[in-house]
Symmetry: C2
């Protein structure tokens, strides 16, 4: 590259972009690790975007109507940190930049949501950012329909690399964006021809522009180092009426000895080469030293949106008080006051009528009463609407001609759905939930983990949660998936036993502000076990005594979901045989673990033998069966220890020995 | 549809295709569940494929040079079962077809590999079959390069639906196939415009032909009910020099009242509608009754390849004895005799030289000695070759001009890699292994589960297996992934402590015939703990005493991988303080669980306090810490209970308290 030509053609632009490159080199060198090449390659695109297009105010980073900027290629985190520091985000001090990748800094190796203002989502696992962005753009459409263009009217910009585009989830994302003509979504492809293993051509020969066009996108191809071309492309992208991919031909590690090589992807820390690169840029100050005039120019960019922001605040003040309150409540992730009473009334009705109902059907009934009072819920399913029972009467279907629709037909895209739901939750103002078969947790896993890591309350509705799924067979029958979600930090796994616990689980999931929820729901019908109405949300403590032992307590049966009624049936027989048997319903292990020790000991006292009952693998149960820190009991587990099989559900429960008879036999053997 | 016109235009074809439709309707009706519409829609394509193109011999279903037929749209399993029954596969009796979806039958709801001959892979989770197929086609290329065209020369045919094509993994698969110009891969797209939720257009508007072209495929668009067009398309597809997608415009549930509707996707069991459909087909026999002449015509198709097969056997007999032996050995998944001695020699060398080495580097060293003696290994990485240490000197790189290359640059496609590796393992003759960061287990999960379910020994090389990854931060640091793989049935999770255990783990993984392996390997250097050379593979028993307590045994430290050296360090101090401390290395919980109780009790005797040490979540450990069935001990665990953070690795171990000091403190508190 002829850097001199670039410098002389656009000197002001050049100095600003160079500040990003210099800070990147310095921070990576200080950390002795990181990814230098991407920020150096995309500095020009980012500079033009921030200078001329991105609607933001560095002093009001949470302004709800700001444009969103998502660095899907999260390894290039120094690009984002440089931009935030240079434009004057208050928390992104020079000290933080100097502490790149160090313990306690807000400048983690990859951008972590919640660490610093301006990080709209956690990225790093490739393909996630661009998929989150689809949710951001959908959220913008839905909220614009709800509040009008004067309150909600912003763009979502994404920088994605070859890694993001090779990941399968990106296909789910771009086809969703294309289907829904999300015209305010603009993706910059960092087309630098390099991946970690070498040239992109080693592994891929995709015609990306043609691919995006096949998904219904507009495509613009430019030189990613030409500020005029970048500016013109963004201007054009905003008026295409569909999502736009701007293919930016760039040089990774521009101006460095490692330019255009896979070495340039990583940490460029050689002092001589750094000096050489900076000399080539015409950058003469020392490490982390941005000349005052250049910093001032950047800060002016950071302040550019202040007027827009103030005007928005005035417009916001002009809408009705109710609308303002709703906007603020939903943005704060607060539930409406009447949620509690609504759920209580529903519980009472269920306890009294005691229906035999699959919990997926109970979930639908619950949503039928919740969705009308929570306009922030957005439901959906990955092409299993009728099976997941996620669609309620009043939601309306999100579509190009119905932007206010709150139900999304996600198609057969579990991963894209989960990632886009995260994007909606991150955008704010909406509470997304989406369904698939629990077994396909596997497909959605990368995004489910990120919801937990980001501390956002996405709700995953996982129906057909055991061999109770029946004939579809072991490919569709989860056995390890409860353990998988329970092993994941900051995740609530709710496995309700009946309609009452289902409603309680929904109340907790929608009240959660920082923890995603997995609702584990049955295909098959279950009897109501909570026939004694209680105002209190019993699920909130994770586990509770559903049926007390009569006489001397010899056995505690601990069960979740569909196996709670199995436990109750076993208890009847055991009590008849004079064996005092307590039944503990345990709809949420994580909430139980959060209780203090005295409550936990009250529910699971020492002395009695314990049997866990769950149509799933034992992993995760031993803590409750064997006790914590050496307070172990005699214990056994009735569940699965292998994959399921294809047969009617009742046959499977019989053949795999998850029956009251089996529980009774094991209980007798233990005591 | 004008069925009469179809019938009269091609009466012989029609009667054969109708046999599939009739058997499908009957089997689904008998099971009262299943998916009728897809087999009814794709019967014409399948009939022409089997009658005129597919190279197979129903009486020799395992003939290694057969064409592979993969039903990626696995819910249409009755299409496959009908074809196998009609063409005369001996195990696919009419009785089995009548027992569709019942306990103990080989006709599961979705095709299960191993249940019946002719089921080349387990499908149902969408997108897997088409992705397996890429591995099948790569395997064919590699083996053709190894053995020549007269021994290996076959096609891989796939039927995929809209579901398969919407799943992101299909993008990874088709871009891989396009990049490598896998010209013997032919995919039929069942283009019926219908998914479960309704018309495809509800959720997708992708121009699939354009999408496939962007990936480097040839595309042919036909009427999927016109046998001449189908025949011509397949003939053309074989000569395109690249993979071909044949877009087949079809009618789901052809001829049934539910034709062209989402209802047609499911179980069509209404007796009147069935009768009406059969009448429209001109099908007059009763349930499960295929007229003898039609069955005979199908059986002739099943026997069509017998001559080819015999000719192949003669050709095979003509190659060298060594080549034959190699072919047969690898097909039988047997390791070469010299593997054991080679590994032993390597272990001796490591024990003597006692290097400080990351286990990922130890893994590379092991592969350097194994790959030259096992020509069936195929290595690869999802764009982390230098980090996963998966590439050895002699492998060569698989490419269009080097079909014998045994290293695959998979690109940033963890899921596609895992699914394609499964395809290679299923094809037979190759032993695939592939690497990524352990955290990206999440991306590969759906295929990893299927390897376990199918009982195939795919090897997943998961490096950077803890916070030891360091600065890249929590998005790249696994904490729950050991638990995830351990919760999965039929999966060996090896977490070796040093180079010796790494070599032992590789020997076990490559000797496994029915169980996939996860190798959990460190980024960071580890000391050699097995300095005392033993011929025996100590990892084979899952856990063993690495250092015995001196004096009275008060504490047992149980550790895996990078924490074994932490345990040894803690033991030194505890012994100095007079606390008898045993250290158990536990590289594989699953193999330990397979040992008899007396061995398990010998390694973990009652009495002493136990501390588990692993830089991961506790879930899965309690069985070993608290004992089984009530034989609990005082216990504690030193590991992670939340996500990691971004900082240098040594800082993280210190901050998260996974140190010898922490172990010592906990041990003293327990006793």
């Amino acid at each position: 590259m002829d850097l001199t030509a670039l410098r002389t053609a656009h000197p002001d632009h050049w100095s600003k972009a160079t500040a990003i490159r210099a800070l990147t080199l310095d921070a990576v060198a200080a950390a002795k690790s990181g990814h230098s090449g991407m920020p150096m390659g995309m500095a020009d695109v980012a500079t033009v975007l921030f200078e001329k297009h991105l609607k933001f105010d560095a002093k009001a980073p949470d302004w709800p109507d700001r444009d969103r900027f998502i660095l899907s290629a999260g390894h290039g985190s120094m690009l984002l940190y440089s931009l935030l520091h240079l434009t004057g985000y208050e928390d992104m001090t020079l000290e933080q930049v100097k502490n790149f990748r160090q313990w306690g800094s807000i400048t983690a190796g990859h951008p972590e949501y919640g660490h610093a203002k301006g990080i709209e989502t956690t990225t790093g696992p490739l393909g996630q950012g661009i998929s989150n962005a689809v949710g951001f753009a959908m959220a913008e459409e839905i909220l614009r329909a709800q509040y009008g263009k004067k309150i909600v009217d912003h763009h979502t910009y994404v920088i994605a690399g070859d890694g993001c585009l090779m990941e399968g989830v990106s296909q789910e994302a771009i086809t969703l964006a294309g289907r829904h003509q999300l015209s305010k979504l603009i993706v910059f492809w960092d087309n630098n021809d390099i991946t970690i293993d070498g040239p992109v051509t080693l592994a891929d020969a995709t015609d990306q522009p043609q691919r995006f066009k096949s998904a219904g996108w507009a495509v613009i191809e430019i030189d990613g180092h030409d500020p005029d071309a970048i500016d013109a492309a963004i201007t054009k992208a905003k008026s295409q009426g569909k999502p736009t991919m701007i293919a930016c031909k760039t040089h990774i590690a521009l101006g460095h000895a490692a330019q255009d090589t896979s070495k340039g992807h990583g940490a460029l820390t050689d002092a001589d080469q750094m000096a050489e690169a900076k000399a080539g840029y015409g950058w003469t100050t020392g490490p982390f030293d941005v000349p005052a005039d250049i910093k001032a120019a950047w800060e002016a960019i950071g302040a550019r949106g202040a007027g827009d922001r103030k005007a928005w605040e005035e417009r916001f003040a002009s809408i009705s008080g109710n609308k303002q309150a709703l906007f603020n409540r939903t943005l704060a992730r607060e539930v409406p006051k009447k949620l509690s009473a609504t759920v209580k009334a529903f519980k009472k009705q269920m306890s009294e009528s005691a229906p035999k109902l699959a919990t997926r059907a109970a979930s639908e009934k619950t949503l039928e009463i919740i969705n009308p009072i929570m306009p922030e819920t957005v439901g959906g399913s990955a092409d299993l609407t009728g099976s997941n029972n996620t669609k309620t009467t009043d939601l309306g279907v999100f579509d190009t001609n119905n932007r206010g629709g709150r139900y999304i037909y996600w198609g057969i895209r579990e991963h894209g759905m989960a990632a886009a739901m995260n994007g909606m939750a991150l955008h704010g103002g909406l509470r997304p939930y989406g369904g698939t078969f629990m077994c396909f947790t596997d497909y959605a896993r990368p995004a489910m983990r990120l919801a937990a890591l980001m501390k956002i309350p996405t709700v995953f509705v996982m129906t057909h949660d055991s061999i109770g799924l029946g004939e579809d067979g072991p490919t569709h029958q989860p056995v390890e998936h409860l353990a998988i979600s329970r092993a994941t930090p900051n995740t609530y796994v709710f496995r309700p036993a009946d309609a009452v616990e289902t409603a309680e689980s929904w109340e907790l999931a929608l009240s959660s502000t920082q923890t995603p929820s997995v609702l584990s729901l049955t295909r098959q019908g279950l009897p109501t076990v909570r026939t004694d109405h209680k105002l209190k949300n019993m699920t909130a403590q994770g586990a509770y005594v559903l049926a007390e032992a009569e006489g001397k307590r010899q056995v505690i049966l601990i069960a979740s979901g569909s196996e709670v009624s199995v436990a109750l049936e076993a208890r009847d027989t055991l009590q008849e045989a004079g064996i005092g048997t307590r039944v503990v319903s345990m709809p949420c292990m994580e909430l139980f673990a959060e209780q203090d020790e005295s409550y936990r000991r009250k529910i699971l006292p020492a002395g009695a033998a314990r049997i866990g009952i769950e149509a799933a693998m034992r992993q995760g149960w031993d803590r409750w069966l064997l006790g914590e820190r050496g307070k172990a009991s005699k214990a056994d587990f009735v569940g699965m220890d292998d994959f399921g099989a294809s047969a009617p559900a009742n046959v499977l429960f019989e053949k795999f020995g998850i029956t009251a008879e089996a529980v009774i036999e094991r209980a007798k053997a233990l005591i």
